[in-house]
């Protein structure tokens, strides 16, 4: 038994060592002095320094790091709430209810995932401009509340389809309508998918540099990735060090978020009293 455990830990750690080397390199490089950033190939520089971090904290535009951090947090949490609520509702309808036009609507939804977003960018920008939402957080959050991230709808539909129908029927016999079944049967059993949606929504909208770039104009509303890119067009190499430091800093919150929420993935479904 213990031998098997040791073997398992061995396999996991070996795989991690290989996979995490580039991450270690990135973190290590953020502690290198400017002249070593790209010239030394080992993950650790000859004389580590925290200069890059100091530069980041001094120099990010007119607002401090915490200000951008707060903006990113606001946008990401908005995305989490929006996606979890709206996608769960839509997925229940697609996965369990009968209504006219279900097939075509589902097909249309799948198509929205397939169209490269670069070509809808400008028309969408025009819409948000007409709604007077440019330079606010709305264009980054509102779409999530309207279930436009079809990825998550599809994800939940697939999960709902794995739930045994006997459960619905039992609930229906107990006098539940469709809303009651959703509330008392589907939602609790859908937890792994909901958690997955929450985790991805948070991380992806945290990293979604592109939309933030297009829609936010004032430095006051900048998110962390947007503030980060101010370093990128430096005509000198000295910019790369702070850039790596910034990447590490931006990584911390989403890393912690993942660490905190992945626990909920562990807890099994339909188990009673067995510890997860």
């Amino acid at each position: 038994m213990t031998a098997r455990k040791v073997l398992w830990h061995g396999i996991v750690l070996a795989a991690l060592a290989l996979l995490l080397y580039p991450v270690v390199w990135l973190v290590g490089t953020s502690f290198k002095p400017a002249e070593e950033v790209l010239s030394t190939l080992s993950p650790l520089g000859d004389d580590p320094t925290t200069d890059n971090y100091a530069q980041v904290f001094d120099g990010v535009g007119e607002f401090g790091v915490w200000h951008y951090f707060g903006n990113s947090l606001l946008v990401s949490l908005g995305a989490v709430v929006g996606n979890v609520v709206s996608c769960a509702l839509a997925a229940y309808a697609f996965g369990r209810l009968h209504f006219r036009g279900r097939g075509p609507m589902f097909g249309f939804m799948m198509i929205t995932i397939m169209l490269p977003h670069h070509v809808v960018l400008i028309p969408q920008y025009v819409i948000f401009q007409q709604l007077d939402m440019v330079n606010t957080f709305w264009p980054l959050v509102l779409p999530k509340f309207l279930a436009t991230d079809a990825f998550f709808v599809f994800l939940m539909v697939q999960f709902i389809r794995t739930l045994p129908r006997e459960l619905d029927e039992a609930a229906t016999l107990d006098g539940c309508g469709p809303a009651g079944v959703f509330r008392h049967v589907v939602l609790p059993l859908l937890r792994p998918a909901l958690i997955t949606t929450a985790i991805f929504s948070f991380i992806w909208s945290w990293n979604d540099f592109f939309s933030q770039l297009i829609y936010l104009n004032d430095a006051e509303r900048f998110t962390l990735p947007l503030a980060l890119q101010l370093f990128i067009d430096q005509a000198t190499q000295s910019a790369f060090g702070p850039m790596f430091a910034m990447s590490v800093l931006a990584l911390l919150p989403i890393g912690l978020f993942f660490l905190a929420f992945q626990r909920f993935l562990v807890e099994g479904v339909a188990t009673s009293g067995v510890k997860g």
Binding site: P104, F108, Y125, V126, N217, I232, Q234, A235, Q237
Partner: protein, 428 residues
Amino acid sequence: MPRLARRAGVPLTAALLLSAALAGCGGGASDDGSVTLRFVWWGNEDRAKVTNQAVEEFQRRNPGIKVETEYSGYDAYFQKLSTQVAGGAGPDLLQLDRATVGEYAGRGVLADLTEHVGGHIKTDDIPDTLLAGGEVGGKQHAIPAGQTTQMLVFDPAPFTAAGATVPSAPGEKWTWAQFAEAVNKVGAAGSVAGTTDFGWAVDWFEVWLHQNGEALYTGDGKLGFDAAKLTEYWTMVSALRPGKGATAPEVTTKMDGSVQNSGMVTKQSASEIGYDSSLTGYFTSYGPTVRTAPLPSDTAESGMAALPPVLFGVSQRSKHKDAAAKLLDFLVNDPDAGKVLGASRGVPPNSEVREQVCGAAVDATKLVCDHESAQEDKIGPSFGPWPTGSAAVKRDFQRTYDDVIFNRVGIAEAAERVVRDAEQALGS
């Protein structure tokens, strides 16, 4: 797609696009009669710091004008700018470069500044040779924010060690054969190539064309060279590779025009062709030992020109063209603004301001000023902006050169492909 969408979507979107096209843009006038301008540029933090400082001063002198500034990296800047302009919400005052000014002006994005020239915008002290860089279709659509010219930047040490001489004193010049001999010596002697392979950038081909009495583009935006010329040029450049006079394909393919990724800064070569506005970058990233030389030429024509590294333009849809023109004028002509901005966009376009800035210059800025004055008699008039479609030409040129250096295609065939693609791109 669903029939509903076909019925409602197209008119709806057409209406949206149309209303965007008709809508104004930029800031609005507020109740107290003051106007708000949006002014955007790309660049690093140093440029941002001094630009914002100059803008502060402008606002102090013009209490009725509020300026909102925004800057970012190059790629992000153009991604955002094109989206916002297409959506009808562009800025009032914007920064462009040689590669983009023709693309934007040719599609009616920039206001014709002719009525402001001499009015809000004074150009008396800006050399005509430089101003030509902002003329599109014979009209001034942009004002140069600085001046730059071509250079060979090099580290004297490897050249001296290899027994090669570089003519860097004022008035000296050299031929392509002498240049080839020098870089081949360095390549044979040391661990680095003599120069960064420069065949990838259409910019340096343009210089060579001018030396031979031709041009990259004709005045009416057509292609100015044929495949034979390009074959001749690429054959000349390619002859430098076998002896390590020029960098290996694996290095050359990474070139993107930025200093930090350049062959010299990544310690792969001892020299490279560039614009003198990048000298600050070489000074800090490579070291203060760098020096400059003129480009080689086999004719009396040096091929070097007074070029705007960046230009300022006013949006055609701006509601406050006068205020924007005022700010533009302040940035390029005002002595106080010039003092603050220094050489953050090349040496200042205004001759008076330039003398003042160059008089007090130290370090990298001094290198730029020295190069400009040493080459003064060789620097010809601006080549003029590249026409619409030139962005594709620039990109295809580099991609095809990749094929050449990796031996995937012969030079003659590659040159024909460049010409064919370019004619297609310019024709649209």
